[in-house]
Symmetry: C2
Subunit: 107 residues, 2 copies
């Protein structure tokens, strides 16, 4: 039996450029995803379907992939669920103040 | 005789959304323009041609227009020159910490 928990190996933030992060954040749906993830208890993951978004599931999945590729989120598969977490502490270390200032501006 | 100094009315930052700023900054040429403007003495304007950029004049003009439309820069015509200034203080007030964190990350 394989493990019930499987983590999709996240991107090493040392290889992520600030342009990747800015491009990922510069879309209204993705910024809203990050805003909802930031408001969620950090220890719990959020499912994509739990977010309130103005787009259909396929579009949400695409946007989630962009966030993941830019190193903004990590995903963990738990059984049939995929839980998404904002990599807030790591991002704060790599790009001090960036996420906080964007989230503050996004309200 | 008209005035020798003519200011292109800059956009009111109250009407600028953080997404406009993120989109404007999420291009390597525009981020480099902002970086060079930030390194220039604030009281002096910089001419577009004085920036060291990896693109030709027409492309640089386009990128400058995007920055201007996002409220990031103001321009002032002095005789035959157009001097560009980063609206740093106003941006810091509108989006606290954002420009600083981006510039820090951009090195």
């Amino acid at each position: 039996m394989g493990p019930a928990t499987e983590t999709h190996q996240p991107r090493d933030l040392a290889d992520v450029d600030v342009l990747d992060v800015l491009q990922a954040l510069s879309d209204p749906v993705r910024l809203e995803m990050v805003r909802q993830l930031a408001a969620w208890p950090a220890q719990d993951g959020l499912q994509c379907g739990q977010m309130k978004l103005p787009v259909k599931k396929a579009a949400a999945s695409h946007h989630l992939k962009v966030l993941w590729e830019a190193g903004l989120v990590s995903t963990e598969k738990q059984g049939v669920y995929k839980l998404i977490t904002l990599r807030r502490d790591e991002l704060d270390e790599r790009f001090p103040g960036l996420l906080d200032s964007v989230l503050r501006a996004a309200g």
